[in-house]
């Protein structure tokens, strides 16, 4: 017995070692190009110019300009995520459960795949050409209805304008994320509810929405993080005049706009904390929703 068992287990050990060697490049890569750079910044956030430990940088995040940037970023992210979740959900619902012709669904899915990746600089151009001062929609509203949206207070380079622009990738992302959950709603649940005397409204309130709630909240947090880390669209749209936290950080990296390199690290730390918390919440919620959908 023992004579045959020994070589077998030795062989197994050797194979496990080889497997570990196989994943080593991946582990090393994520360590050197993801974990350590982020950790490096976090350490820097707690150091002064001479490398000594300090909390001064964290305290300095309280400067009104920085707080304003954080708040603005949080507002834009929350607003575009909330609107994206709501509108994306309704769009996906209309297409999946609305008994529309068969071609509608794959069309929406393909388009969502494209649009959710169509962010950054070109998106800013597209919205400038649409809702900018000389944009097509602006011009049409002016000639047809004699309605100047800019005189009415609209500005593409504003909170509302930026949120509207972000929705161009937020809504499709929501469609992609929520479709599996909507597909998971079984026809029998609705039918069972109706034979038990429930109206359509009662079905949605007592069955469908409670089931969809965790994935919806998860989608909200994903969209939130997605908008929070974005910079290119806002930068191309507004230059550095619109002080999102990402734009402030960009200016800091390019030219030490805050005149304090270590404050820049603290800025980055704040961003990691915010997206980390929102994604942690997402993972927690995702595992909760999976618990009874499985």
């Amino acid at each position: 017995m023992s004579t045959t068992a020994l070589p077998a287990s030795a062989a197994r050990d050797r194979r496990i070692n080889w497997s570990w060697v196989g994943v080593l490049p991946f582990i090393a890569f994520t360590l050197f190009f993801l974990i350590l750079p982020a950790a490096n910044l976090i350490v820097g956030a707690f150091q002064d110019a001479n490398g000594a430990f300090t909390l001064k940088n964290i305290v300095n995040l309280g400067q009104p300009a920085i707080v304003r940037s954080y708040v603005l970023s949080l507002q834009v992210s929350a607003a575009s995520a909330a609107a994206g979740v709501l509108l994306g959900f309704l769009l996906a619902l209309a297409v999946i459960h609305g008994m529309l012709p068969r071609w509608v669904r794959p069309t929406l899915m393909t388009f969502s795949g494209v649009a959710s990746q169509f962010a950054g600089v070109p998106l800013a151009f597209a919205f400038l050409a649409t809702l900018g001062r000389t944009g097509l929609v602006t011009a049409i509203l002016m000639t047809l209805f004699d309605f100047n949206i800019y005189r009415a207070g609209f500005n593409l380079l504003s909170f509302l304008g930026l949120t509207l622009t972000y929705l161009y990738f937020q809504i499709p992302l929501m469609v992609l994320v929520i479709t599996p959950a909507l597909d998971g709603l079984k026809r029998e649940w609705r039918e069972a509810a109706s034979t038990l005397g429930a109206t359509g409204g009662q079905y949605w309130r007592m069955v469908a929405l409670p089931i969809l709630w965790p994935p919806m909240l998860g989608a909200f947090l994903l969209l939130f993080a997605n908008a929070f880390g974005a910079i290119a669209t806002a930068y191309a749209l507004t230059g550095s005049s619109f002080n999102l936290i990402t734009i402030l950080l960009y200016a800091q990296i390019r030219g030490d706009a805050l005149h304090d390199p270590n404050l820049g690290y603290a800025l980055a730390l704040g961003m990691i904390v915010i997206t980390g918390v929102s994604n942690g919440a997402y993972i927690w919620l995702a595992s909760r929703s999976a618990r009874w959908i499985r």
Partner: protein, 356 residues
């Protein structure tokens, strides 16, 4: 008048008519099964009774009241689905209470009713579990309790056993039938499984291609199938070609040998070609005297099935299968051996319609 009355019911999906003018009456407290292969229209009838599909034409009456255009939630119908349709976000208790909650019953009434239902399905200890923590059989029992909790006028069962293991299927079907008898609830059960249909039903309605083929008790359906479809769908059957030689005396010639039936010729007369059905269990080996029929042939194949030995006997043109019990002390028959099979005059069924 019957409790549930369906008349001239037709349903067309696009160019495809799945139910073609069905007429059906179900008595109060009756357990009626719609039996047929997939696509025969049985599920569509059930879904029209439930209100999920609107009939293209025809009417559905429950207790004398026309419900054809009522929405499902206005019909007071209990339904159990094939795929466990329990609400995954609710415990067993909340699932059973759902119908009472949407009807705004008082909390104490709901509690009492849920408790009663849990006792009924013998699962009181699982009240706080979630559906994913239950086995398939348990889920279907909870689904049954949920459907019954609202005291529906009619219970609809849409292949509720098909997704379950063979063993649970048998025990649950006995349980469902016992519950149905105990509550006296009018029930329509849809299945493609003839064994389920025969064992559970008061009456069976056999369907094929949107039409009702035959309606009768399990005994009638099995022993007196009217059409070739019913005969072949319910149980195993030998179908032979015969020719009526004397309509008045019930004489039919099969492969040159003459047999006599005392069950009538189903409308055929002398000289007609007919299809003749014989159940394997009605045939015995050996020559019998008196009123019995005998056919001489040769053993073609022998299949040993354990307790039963199935023998295939060839006559000149056609062949039949017959079942005999396995007897350890008798030598099994061998292929090529000449053999005579006998059967009673009442065992021959002359089926409706032409021979082929």
């Amino acid at each position: 008048m019957a409790f549930l009355s369906i008349s001239r019911l037709t349903k067309t999906f696009g160019t495809n008519t799945t139910v073609k003018g069905a007429d059906l009456e179900v008595e109060r407290g009756e357990f009626l099964t719609l039996l047929g292969p997939s696509g025969c229209g049985k599920t569509t009838i059930l879904r029209m009774v439930a209100g999920f599909e609107t009939p293209t034409s025809g009417t559905i009456r429950i207790d004398g009241k026309d419900v054809t255009d009522l929405k499902p939630h206005q019909r007071k119908i209990g339904m159990v689905f094939q795929a466990y349709a329990l609400f995954p976000n609710m415990s067993v208790r909340d699932n059973i209470a759902f119908g009472l909650k949407v009807a705004h019953r008082s909390a104490s009434e709901i509690d009492a009713r849920v408790k009663e239902m849990l006792e009924l399905i013998k699962l009181p200890q699982l009240a706080d579990r979630y559906p994913y923590q239950l086995s398939g059989g348990q889920q279907q029992r909870v689904a049954l309790a949920r459907a019954l909790a609202i005291k529906p006028q009619i219970l609809l069962l849409d292949e509720p056993l098909s997704a379950l293991d063979a063993k649970i299927r048998v025990s649950l079907r006995e349980e469902i039938r016992a519950l149905q008898r105990q509550l006296g609830i009018t029930t329509i059960f849809v299945t493609h499984d003839q064994e389920e249909a025969l064992s559970m039903s008061d009456r069976i309605c056999v369907m094929s291609e949107g039409r009702i083929e035959q309606l009768g008790t399990p005994f009638e359906i099995y022993n007196y199938p009217k059409t070739r479809f019913v005969a072949s769908f319910v149980g195993t059957l030998n179908i032979l070609r015969g020719k009526v030689t004397d309509g008045a005396a019930g004489r039919v010639q099969i492969d040159g040998q003459e047999v006599v039936t005392n069950r009538g010729l189903n409308g055929a007369s002398t000289g007609d070609e007919v299809a003749v059905a014989l159940r394997p269990e009605a045939l015995s080996i050996g020559r019998a005297n008196g009123q019995s029929n005998n056919l001489d042939g040769v053993i073609d194949e022998v299949h040993f099935l354990g307790s039963v030995v199935r023998i295939r006997v060839r006559f000149s043109d056609t062949a039949v299968s017959l079942d005999t019990f396995n007897r350890p002390n008798a030598a099994p028959p061998e292929r090529g051996q000449p053999i005579t099979v006998n059967f009673g005059r009442e065992d021959i069924l002359v089926l409706e319609g032409p021979a082929h």
